[in-house]
């Protein structure tokens, strides 16, 4: 049963991203600032840090599956989120071996992950011709608001989910060893 919790929670993140913008006050929307909810990615980073072991790649698998789901439901171009999320999670999985995971490391890694992912998405969409923003505009309009908004969400998510992920991880992988 427990192995279904993670996919369900991730699916819920995908669903919630669609209504996330309702929470943003109208006055901020009118200023043409773009805040992209990367909640799924935040969750995936947490899974990488607290659920996965060094030699398991569940987060990567989920990144590919649910990234594709985001592509299908929210955008018109397939594969962009899938590729970018998978790549970013792979990088985070690599860094994880070097750093000990506490709150600040997790926050730092999440911010790095979101920055990387959003820049990756910007570059790919720029080449396809979906956006024509220049780098400086992109930084001011989209990257910085997105980073701030997602950091707030991370601080809310972290205390709720951390211990649970550690528990699930222990139950899952300890039982396997025995």
């Amino acid at each position: 049963m427990q192995r279904f919790y993670l996919p369900l929670l991730l699916l819920l993140m995908v669903v919630f991203e669609g209504v996330a913008l309702d929470f943003v006050p109208q006055s901020l929307m009118a200023k043409e600032l773009l805040m992209i909810p990367h909640w799924l990615l935040l969750f995936l980073v947490m899974i990488t840090l607290f659920y996965d072991l060094e030699n398991t790649y569940y987060s990567l698998l989920y990144a590919i599956l649910f990234g594709l789901m985001i592509d299908i439901t929210y955008t018109d171009v397939l594969g962009v989120y899938m590729f970018v999320y998978a790549l970013v999670i792979y990088i985070i999985h690599g860094i994880r071996k070097v750093l000990h995971a506490n709150f600040f490391v997790a926050l730092l890694l999440s911010i790095i992950a979101i920055a990387l992912a959003d820049i990756g998405i910007y570059i790919i969409y720029f080449f396809i011709g979906i956006n024509e923003l220049l780098w400086n505009d992109y930084m001011m309009i989209r990257l910085i608001p997105t980073l701030i908004a997602n950091s707030v969400f991370f601080i809310l998510l972290y205390p709720i989910i951390k211990t649970r992920l550690l528990n699930w991880s222990q139950e899952r992988f300890d039982s396997k060893k025995m």
């Binding site: 699916l11 299908i72 171009v77």
Partner: protein, 292 residues
């Protein structure tokens, strides 16, 4: 160690090839979505429909409280308006009857004019999280008779058109996401001329937050605040859907045509209930196929 590096590079390359392939596939001109896409969109849409209700409830509470303060004044104003509307309604009925008798004397018996349409009510259940795609999801799909390219309006004016449909949900492309490939033929009301000015909506200007309207005629003076509405020609939109009001008119880069900036009537950010418009008059593409 070298073996692992090679393997890693191999996977990244495969991923990259997959990415390019998928992008190519989705950018190619395709009419219908694949079954997998429809299935995922419908099931996520179904969940969004459930989640949307409490979210909408909580986010609108603050707004509702603010509105309650003004209720009394608004009510007074509306009561006075109501009388005027009654008079207007009578006048419209009169004109309609007049129109019918005149049409019958002209032997113009076609009952389906470009203005007639069916309205399908729908609710916006999600907005694309990638805000470069100006799309929202609504809770009606092919099962409710929706088709690609139908116009979508609110009480204030037109907001966009159906971009893709699944069985139970569809995504709407908002007017501010329109580009050259999906233009709308429009008319502009000109006061001191009998004929309306015509033109095309060719895109959206992010900086001035207005739609760009290319006028067919060069020697034409348009006053500010004139109403722009769809002409019903060349497509699936019925005639007479309000789009916006003229903000300013200036010549284009090369001085060959005039471009008008049009402020959209509807608010694209505050959407909840929308109406999908199904035109009753026959569509031009179909008649071409019949001729062939």
């Amino acid at each position: 160690m070298l073996f692992f590096r090679k393997k890693r590079l191999f996977f990244i390359l495969i991923g990259f090839i997959l990415l390019v392939g998928l992008i190519g596939f989705s950018l190619s001109e395709r009419d219908d979505k694949t079954i997998v896409e429809e299935f995922i969109q419908d099931s996520v849409g179904w969940m969004q429909g459930i989640v949307h209700v409490p979210v909408e409830y909580t986010t609108t509470i603050a707004k509702n409280i603010k509105e309650i303060k003004n209720v009394y004044e608004e009510n007074q104003l509306l009561k006075t308006r109501l009388n005027q509307y009654n008079r207007l309604l009578e006048e419209v009925n009169d004109l309609r009857a007049d129109n019918e008798t005149l049409r019958s004397t002209l032997d113009k018996t076609e009952s389906e004019s470009l203005r007639d349409f069916n309205a399908i009510q729908a609710t916006v259940i999600a907005r694309s999280k990638e805000q470069w795609f100006k799309m929202v999801t609504i809770n009606k799909g092919e099962q409710d008779g929706l088709e690609k390219n139908m116009a979508v309006i609110t009480g204030e004016g037109m907001i966009g058109k159906i971009y893709t449909t699944s069985q139970f949900t569809s995504s709407v492309m908002l007017l501010n996401g329109f580009d050259q490939s999906n233009r709308i033929s429009v008319n502009v009301n000109v006061e001191d001329r009998e004929k309306d000015a015509s033109g095309f909506i060719i895109g959206y200007d992010e900086e001035s937050e207005s739609l760009l309207l290319e006028l067919d005629e060069y020697n034409i003076e348009l006053a500010k605040e004139e109403v722009v509405f769809s002409s019903g020609l060349g497509g699936v939109f019925p005639k007479g859907l309000e789009i916006g009001t003229i903000e300013e008119v200036k010549p284009d880069r090369y001085g060959l045509t005039k471009i008008a900036h049009v402020t959209p009537s509807a608010d694209f950010y505050d959407l909840s209930h929308v109406i999908v418009v199904e035109r009753l008059a026959e569509q031009p593409e179909e008649s071409v196929e019949e001729e062939e």
